[in-house]
Symmetry: D2
Subunit: 129 residues, 4 copies
Amino acid sequence: MDVRELIGQDRFAKLLGIELLEVSNGRATSKMEIRDEHLNGVDIAQGGVIFTLADFTLAAAANSHGRVAVVINASISFIKAFQKGILLAEAIETSRSEKIATYTVNITNLDGELIAEYHGTAYRKKEVF
Amino acid sequence: MDVRELIGQDRFAKLLGIELLEVSNGRATSKMEIRDEHLNGVDIAQGGVIFTLADFTLAAAANSHGRVAVVINASISFIKAFQKGILLAEAIETSRSEKIATYTVNITNLDGELIAEYHGTAYRKKEVF
Amino acid sequence: MDVRELIGQDRFAKLLGIELLEVSNGRATSKMEIRDEHLNGVDIAQGGVIFTLADFTLAAAANSHGRVAVVINASISFIKAFQKGILLAEAIETSRSEKIATYTVNITNLDGELIAEYHGTAYRKKEVF
Amino acid sequence: MDVRELIGQDRFAKLLGIELLEVSNGRATSKMEIRDEHLNGVDIAQGGVIFTLADFTLAAAANSHGRVAVVINASISFIKAFQKGILLAEAIETSRSEKIATYTVNITNLDGELIAEYHGTAYRKKEVF
């Protein structure tokens, strides 16, 4: 199976309308349109929506090496409130050993402003897909 | 406005079917049913779904004091994979000063097993709601 | 080798004067006296001192099962500034699987007030000690 | 007071032999020699030593704007074990608003390999120094 196929089976990402743009060798980019149904009680994008976009993009990057990788820990900083429109996510692998790999995902608006910063640690299983 | 009313306006939580059970003085509990549309590419609950449940529950707890509080930073550990069924979330305030408050949210299954552990820092605005 | 012996070889903890009080089955407590040499530029305990106390206590708890465990990721919230005197640390195992275990460490003063809250993820190696 | 003067009063950094190399407009670099007294029970640099180096470098960067900034939350990933020798730290400001700023600190060896990755959130007080 190809990483795009694996990632394409993510039903929650599909529900949110997240689109994978690029994925290769430890990197990935994706985008999503924040709509009314993604807002929280104070009318900004719910933290979980932004986390999902970041997590999905990391998953693409982490699985790009052909082995199943799952996030065991992640931290996210919410930098700037975001209402509606397009968000972009870019995942970069900052380290990778046999078992553990780390990723930074920057979430930006179309003006390139940082909306959130996500750092995740993935555990690399032995199984290939 | 009441905290239940504020939290009830969270459209993303509504989209996911998250239900607030209790909220009072820095604590809150909620629940959600994980269904097929919430799964990721390897058939377990997407990290973003679990994060959303935790984040929503924290938001209820953090806003229970009547002042607007927003999460600035959160870290989450994914302990045990979860497929389908009911997840419970319990948020507890571990500290609160004038500007900053911290929360732990435990996500468990109906057997009381820990599925994920979330720790968030909220910034308390001056505005009341 | 005993976990106390392994932990007793921590030269940095010794340099700081950290004392292990108790350790057993995934839990540990320790204490330390914050002195002038542990303060930062604004006259409060340096974040690194508090982190070290937490990290050491986690290491005791994580290695108490007889297998080498190393921290791969940790997050810490600094709740309340602390000047001089005794700090206590208590590490509790919140989950443990074959490879990964998670810990919460609370750092308190002698009045029981929370000074810092630390959450760490350890990777459990195959080797025993 | 100058930021170098403020940072120079950090007694714990002095105890560890941390040296500030550069500091300006949200960025800072520093270095430290890991010696025997900085090792833990399994003969690698104690996590607290590396955290301290990162935290100190962040403090320099965060205070470079002339207002007192304190770390409220930090997460650190330990990527590669390090024994003895020189470690370098580079802090970069990834965002800054009126109250909150975020920093990434990379800790590397002299070969440029990533040893640890630190992400911190600082609260910016009103007071200047």
